[in-house]
Symmetry: C2
């Protein structure tokens, strides 16, 4: 048995875990992300934390596969990384981690490592290909084909949040375009769909008495049978289903995994999306399973270790 460290680097915390090569999470912990000084202290903080953990065990150096890291940005083939939110610009993260720990290091974008994690030990375990759709503040994605992450010629592989789904949209997406999937099928998109529905309809709804109508409130009300909330949820799932059908018709994965904060809505979200997906998907892909992500916030760490295998 060999061991690997998975490091999921976020803007506020760094999630770290020790895994067996068989995919067992043996221990996990977090440290703060120090974004001061353009994030230059981050590699040292991570390296020290790994060294401290290595000292707790009596493994020899050859027992380790290495350190995998997921970065909220790009990791380039030369081992440098860009990450706007951390202040990183071509920071040589891979070389620094190798020097600090004495272990081999590999890195990738954090959406890709999450997809890789769900592929290895989560909702796509046992499958050869997978699309992960992450419904959070925005919509992210990652595509794994034959065990390899689809990076893309400009590192935009799996950026399905910016699929154009509504040519009539007048509001701008964060990316500068109009009518992107992310403008509807994210937590913020769900809240916006709710605002529009509440303003455009006189129907009674428990949502009208909510102090804050966010995605969670919509899905809670939908689960409780609120008619207007179910309508909003239906529109959310319809747009999401069209986006997923589009991706499925293009890359035809074995399974589609839904993760991110909004996926806490659970099986109702899956069922409503799957029903609509079957309307839009091309015949051979109509029965592609749509399942919930299984690893939650740990997916990235898992994927970082999968990248070491």
């Amino acid at each position: 048995m060999k061991y690997g460290y998975g490091v999921d680097l976020g803007g506020t915390t760094v999630k770290m875990g020790l895994f067996s090569d068989g995919g067992r999470l043996l221990d996990k912990w977090e440290i703060d992300t120090d974004v001061s000084n353009g994030g230059v202290n981050i590699p040292t903080d991570i390296g020290r934390s790994i060294l401290a953990d290595m000292n707790k065990h009596s493994f020899s150096r050859s027992d380790y596969l290495g350190v995998g890291i997921g970065v909220p940005g790009q990791v380039w083939p030369d081992g440098t990384a860009d990450a706007v939110n951390l202040g990183w610009r071509r920071l040589p993260i891979i070389g620094q981690l190798e020097e600090l720990t004495g272990l081999r290091a590999v890195g990738d974008n954090d959406a890709n490592t999450a997809a890789m994690g769900e592929y290895w030990q989560g909702g796509g375990k046992g499958c050869k290909s997978l699309v992960l759709v992450t419904l959070g503040t925005g919509v992210g994605g990652g595509i794994i084909l034959d065990g390899k992450c689809l990076q893309g010629a400009h590192r935009a592989g799996g950026e399905i949040g910016h699929i154009p789904v509504n040519p009539g949209e007048t509001r701008l997406c964060g990316c500068g375009n109009r009518g992107c999937l992310e403008q509807y099928a994210s937590a913020t998109g769900c809240a916006r769909l709710a605002m529009d529905a509440l303003a455009g309809s006189g129907a009674p709804s428990t949502l009208r008495s909510e102090r804050k109508v966010d995605a969670r409130a919509v899905w809670d009300a939908a689960k409780a049978g609120d008619g207007l909330a179910l309508e909003i949820a239906g529109r959310f799932c319809d747009i999401l289903a069209r986006g997923i059908a589009t991706v499925a018709n293009t890359v035809d994965p074995e399974v589609i995994v839904i993760g991110g904060g909004v996926s806490r809505a659970g099986q109702l979200l899956i069922d409503m999306t799957a029903e609509r997906y079957r309307r839009y998907a091309f015949n051979p892909c109509k029965n592609t399973p749509i399942v919930l992500a299984k690893l939650g916030n740990d997916a990235g760490m898992y994927g970082c270790v999968a990248n070491l295998l």
Copy 2:
């Protein structure tokens, strides 16, 4: 130097070519496709034609890479093929070709071999990844990533003709869904867009005096500066651009190649599509080149030989 045979099997003719491994087409010819008796004579006809060509040359058996075939259907890993239009159902085409010619044989779907051909020696030559969009009676596609064709879990990889682009469509697509890309961005789709525009507008147009308003008439009139034809062409390219942007945001290819009968409209089609594509594509993919296919009807044969390399 080695040699390979490329066999592009269609419903009426079989296009055959002898290639060098460097990608030169040395000779090409056609034979009729005999669809009688469930297409059982096709393998023998192809085998005989290859043997006759081999007899014209003094190459030894080891000078040949083999025979690659593209089938209007599926070629399965066990070497059998399904092709509805030929009457094939699990016909053991690969084994039969190997027995008949004494050469190694490989096969794939014809849309995939066309993509492989454009990747090897056509519009994508020198690139690592490519999406081929074929605008014919329908819309077909093929995706090549790192030199390998994306097959998909249900052999539906690259079936971008059935991307849902218009949830409001009431007319059925041939696939049974509504609002597929193919309903607009194909030759038949272009003719339908033209009918709708002519019926819905009183604007003068040279198209009104055409006996038959097909895709060719629309593009000819557009090139001659006809206002209504340019509007129809604009709508055609807008929908096509959205479809392409969707695919680009998903797989992020190095180049997008446009082929098929409608692509004979040429550079105007490319320019009008590219301009709209840049509106819909995600930032990193905005400058992905969109180019015309280069190999025309020979693309499939080229790809069949590329599959032997």
